[in-house]
C-alpha cells in the first residue's frame, strides 16, 4: 500500500516540478510549486518525520510559496503569458541538465549504500527539542543561534532594500526609466541627473 502512495507522490512531484519550470502562466507555476512542496511533505510524513513535514508545510508551503504568490501578484499581469523560451536556450539548458542528471543518477544507482544498521532514534518532538538545545555531540544549539543571526540579517537586508532613501520617499516613481536597458547610456546618465536634482 505505502509503495503506491509513494509512487503517486513521486509522480506528483515530478510532473508538477516539470510544470513549474515550463508553464508560461506565472501564477500557475507558483501553484504547481505549492503542489510539489506539499507532496514532498507527504514523503516526509511517510518517512515518519512528522515534525519536519509540518515545518515543510508551514514554512515552505505556507510561507515561501505564499510570499512568491504575493510577489507574482505585485509584479506581473496575471493574464499575460510569458514569452516562449528560445529554442537554443532550451536545448542547451536541457542538455546540460540532462547530462548532469544522467551522471548523478548513474552514480547513485551504481553506488552500494551501506546502512549502519543501528536502531532508529525516534524523531519525536521531544527528541528534536532536546537535540536543538543540546550543546554536546549532535546538539544543534550553535546552528540554531547562527540561523537566528541569519534571519535577523536577512530581515534588515530586506528592509533596507524596501526602504527608499529619505529624500526619495515620496517621489520614488519618478525615477522609473522605461528605456532600460536598450538605451543604456541614456538610462545611466539620466537617472543620475534626476537623482541629483531630486537630492537637491
Amino acid at each position: 500500500m505505502e509503495q503506491y502512495v509513494f509512487y503517486i507522490l513521486a509522480a506528483i512531484i515530478l510532473v508538477f516540478s516539470f510544470l513549474t519550470v515550463t508553464s508560461r502562466m506565472i501564477l500557475r507555476a507558483a501553484v504547481y510549486l505549492l503542489f510539489v512542496l506539499i507532496a514532498t511533505s507527504g514523503i516526509y510524513f511517510m518517512l515518519n518525520y512528522n515534525f519536519l513535514a509540518a515545518v515543510q508545510l508551514t514554512v515552505y508551503a505556507g510561507g515561501i510559496a505564499v510570499l512568491i504568490v504575493f510577489s507574482v501578484l505585485l509584479t506581473s499581469q496575471l493574464n499575460e503569458k510569458m514569452e516562449q523560451v528560445s529554442l537554443t536556450k532550451a536545448l542547451a539548458g536541457g542538455l546540460i541538465a540532462f547530462a548532469g542528471a544522467l551522471l548523478t543518477i548513474l552514480t547513485i544507482v551504481q553506488y552500494n549504500f551501506r546502512p549502519n544498521g543501528l536502531p532508529e532514534l525516534e524523531p519525536s518532538p521531544r527528541e528534536i527539542g532536546h537535540a536543538m538545545l543540546n550543546y554536546g555531540d549532535n546538539g544543534y544549539v550553535l546552528p540554531f543561534e547562527v540561523i537566528s543571526v541569519l534571519l535577523l540579517a536577512a530581515m534588515v537586508g530586506a528592509i533596507i532594500i524596501a526602504k527608499r532613501p529619505a529624500k526619495l520617499l515620496n517621489e520614488d516613481r519618478t525615477i522609473i526609466d522605461t528605456s532600460y536597458p536598450s538605451d543604456k547610456n541614456a538610462y545611466t546618465s539620466r537617472t543620475k541627473a534626476e537623482i541629483d536634482s531630486l537630492l537637491k
Partner: protein, 474 residues
C-alpha cells in the same frame, strides 16, 4: 561546558554583540545623529579588531561543530583588520545625503557577513559550514543592492543572490552525497571514513564548485564582474577581499582535511581551474574601462594564483596562501580606497577619468600605484613576496609548468596594471579630477593599507610566523 571554553568563540561572540549594539543604537537613537552613528560604528569595530588580537586559546566546542586553531584565529584577525580598513574607507560615502537613515543598517549587514565568515572558517561540520556560508552571502546580496536609487545596484544584488543560491544548491547536493557515502557531517568523522569512490568524487566536484563560486574561479566566476560593477564601491571592496579570502581559506582547509584522501582528484582539478582562472582573468582585465570591473577581473586572476599554494600541498604552500591573502587584502584595499575616495568626490569610476590624477592628487596616486604594483607583484612591494613564495611552493612540489604559466600571467597582468599607472601619470587630460581632501577616516584607511603593503613583505618574520603556526592539517 564552562564559560572559559565558551570564550573560545570570542571572535564571533564579540561580533554578535557588536551587531546587537548597532541595532540598539539604531533603535534608541533612531539613526538621527549621523556623525554619532558613524563614529560609534567605526570606534566599536576598532575595539573589536584589537580585542581579536589578544591571546586566546584554541580547541573544539559543541561536540566538534566549532573548532579553532592558531591558523584559524590568525585568519579571523586578518579578516577583522581588513574589514576595519573597509569601515574606515566607507565613512565618507555613508556621510552622503543619499544614505541618510540607513547607516547603521549598512554596518549591521556587513558585520553579519563577517560573523558568517568567521563561523564558516571555524566550522567543524558541514551544517555550520553551510550556515556560515549563507550568512556570509545573503546579507551580502542585500548590501550589493544597497543603492536602491542606482539601477545597477539592484541588478548586482539579484545576480549575486540567485547565482549564489544556485551554487549553494549544487554544493548542498554534494554535501548530501557526502553524507550518504560517509555517514556523518562532522569533519572529524569524515576524515576517518572518507574513501575514494564515485560518490565522494562527485561530492567533491559539487562542493568544490560551490566554493569556487565564492572565490571566483573560472568557469564559476561570471557573476564577479557584474556584481562588482553594480554594487557600491565599498561593498565591492569588501566582497573582493574579505569574502574571497575567507572562502579561499576554507577551501584550502577542507581539501586538506576532509578531502585529503581525494588528493589525486583535486590536484588536477585545481591545476586546470587555476590555469584557466589566471589566463581568462587577465585577458578580460585588459579591456576593462571601469575600475570596479577591472578590479573584478584582477581579483579573478589573483584567485588563480592562490591555487598554486594549495596545490603544492606542503606546509610552505598553505602558510603562503594565508600570507598571500593578507597581502592581497591590503593591496586591494589600497586600490579600492583610492577609487572610492574619487568616486565619493566626483562620482567617476572609469579608468580614463583617472588621467592626469598625478598632477592634482599626488598622494592618492601614490597609494594607488603601490596597490597596483603590489597586485602586479613588483618587488620590493609585498605582493611580490606573496607571489614569489607561491611560486617557490609550487615549484618545490614539482609543478614546473604551472609555475611557468603563472609567471607568464604575471607578465600580462603587469601590462594591464601599468595601463592604469600610465593613465594616472602620463595620459594628458584637460580636466583632470580636481584636488580634494579626504576626511580623517579615509586617510587613515589609506595609510593603514599602504603600511600593510610596504611592511608585510619586508619583515621576513611574518611569513615565518605563519609558517610555524600549527595547522592541525598536516
Amino acid at each position: 561546558m564552562n564559560l572559559n571554553s565558551f570564550l573560545l568563540m570570542r571572535h564571533e561572540l564579540i561580533l554578535i554583540a557588536v551587531v546587537l549594539l548597532y541595532l540598539a543604537s539604531e533603535i534608541i537613537g533612531g539613526g538621527k545623529n549621523k556623525r554619532f552613528s558613524l563614529n560609534f560604528a567605526v570606534v566599536l569595530f576598532l575595539a573589536v579588531t584589537i580585542i581579536g588580537f589578544l591571546p586566546i586559546s584554541t580547541g573544539t566546542m559543541f561536540g566538534g561543530m566549532y573548532q579553532t586553531s592558531p591558523a584559524i584565529i590568525l585568519m579571523k584577525n586578518i579578516l577583522n583588520a581588513g574589514a576595519f580598513i573597509v569601515f574606515l574607507q566607507v565613512v565618507s560615502w555613508l556621510k552622503k545625503e543619499e544614505n541618510d537613515n540607513r547607516i547603521m543598517e549598512f554596518f549591521i549587514l556587513i558585520v553579519s557577513t563577517l560573523i558568517g565568515m568567521n563561523y564558516m572558517i571555524s566550522a567543524g561540520d558541514f551544517l555550520m559550514f553551510y550556515l556560515g556560508l549563507e550568512l556570509a552571502t545573503i546579507p551580502m546580496a542585500a548590501l550589493a543592492a544597497y543603492q536602491v536609487y542606482n539601477l545597477k545596484s539592484a541588478e548586482a544584488g539579484i545576480k549575486l543572490l540567485l547565482l549564489a543560491a544556485l551554487s549553494s544548491g549544487i554544493m548542498l547536493f554534494g554535501i548530501s552525497m557526502l553524507y550518504g557515502a560517509s555517514e556523518s557531517l562532522y569533519f572529524t568523522d569524515l576524515i576517518r571514513t572518507m574513501e575514494m569512490n564515485s560518490m565522494t568524487v562527485l561530492a567533491l566536484v559539487f562542493i568544490f564548485s560551490g566554493l569556487a563560486f565564492k572565490i571566483s574561479i573560472v568557469p564559476f566566476h561570471f557573476w564577479t564582474a557584474d556584481v562588482y560593477e553594480g554594487a557600491p564601491m565599498s561593498v565591492t571592496s569588501y566582497m573582493s577581499v574579505i569574502s574571497k579570502a575567507s572562502a579561499a581559506f576554507v577551501l584550502m582547509s577542507l581539501l586538506f582535511t576532509v578531502f585529503a584522501q581525494l588528493k589525486e582528484i583535486w590536484t588536477p582539478i585545481l591545476y586546470i581551474t587555476s590555469v584557466l582562472t589566471m589566463t581568462l582573468g587577465n585577458l578580460f582585465a585588459i579591456r576593462q574601462r571601469n575600475i570596479k570591473r577591472f578590479m573584478a577581473f584582477s581579483s579573478i586572476a589573483q584567485a588563480g594564483f592562490i591555487f598554486l599554494g594549495i596545490i603544492s600541498g606542503t606546509q610552505m604552500g598553505m602558510s603562503t596562501v594565508i600570507y598571500f591573502l593578507a597581502i592581497y587584502i591590503f593591496s586591494n584595499l589600497a586600490v579600492f580606497g583610492v577609487a572610492g575616495a574619487i568616486y565619493n568626490q566626483t562620482g567617476k569610476e572609469l579608468i580614463d577619468d583617472y588621467a592626469g590624477l598625478y598632477k592634482t592628487n599626488p598622494a592618492l596616486t601614490l597609494v594607488m600605484t603601490f596597490g597596483l604594483f603590489s597586485l602586479a607583484g613588483i618587488p620590493p612591494i609585498a605582493g611580490f613576496f606573496g607571489k614569489f613564495f607561491l611560486f617557490t611552493a609550487a615549484m618545490e612540489s614539482g609543478f614546473l609548468w604551472l609555475t611557468v604559466i603563472a609567471v607568464l600571467n604575471t607578465i600580462i597582468s603587469l601590462y594591464y596594471y601599468l595601463l592604469i599607472v600610465k593613465a594616472m601619470y602620463i595620459t594628458p587630460n584637460e580636466s583632470p579630477i580636481a584636488f580634494f581632501r579626504s576626511d580623517f577616516y579615509m586617510k587613515m584607511g589609506l595609510i593603514l593599507a599602504t603600511i600593510g603593503i610596504l611592511v608585510i613583505g619586508f619583515i621576513g618574520g611574518i611569513h615565518h610566523y605563519i609558517y610555524n603556526l600549527s595547522f592541525g592539517i598536516l
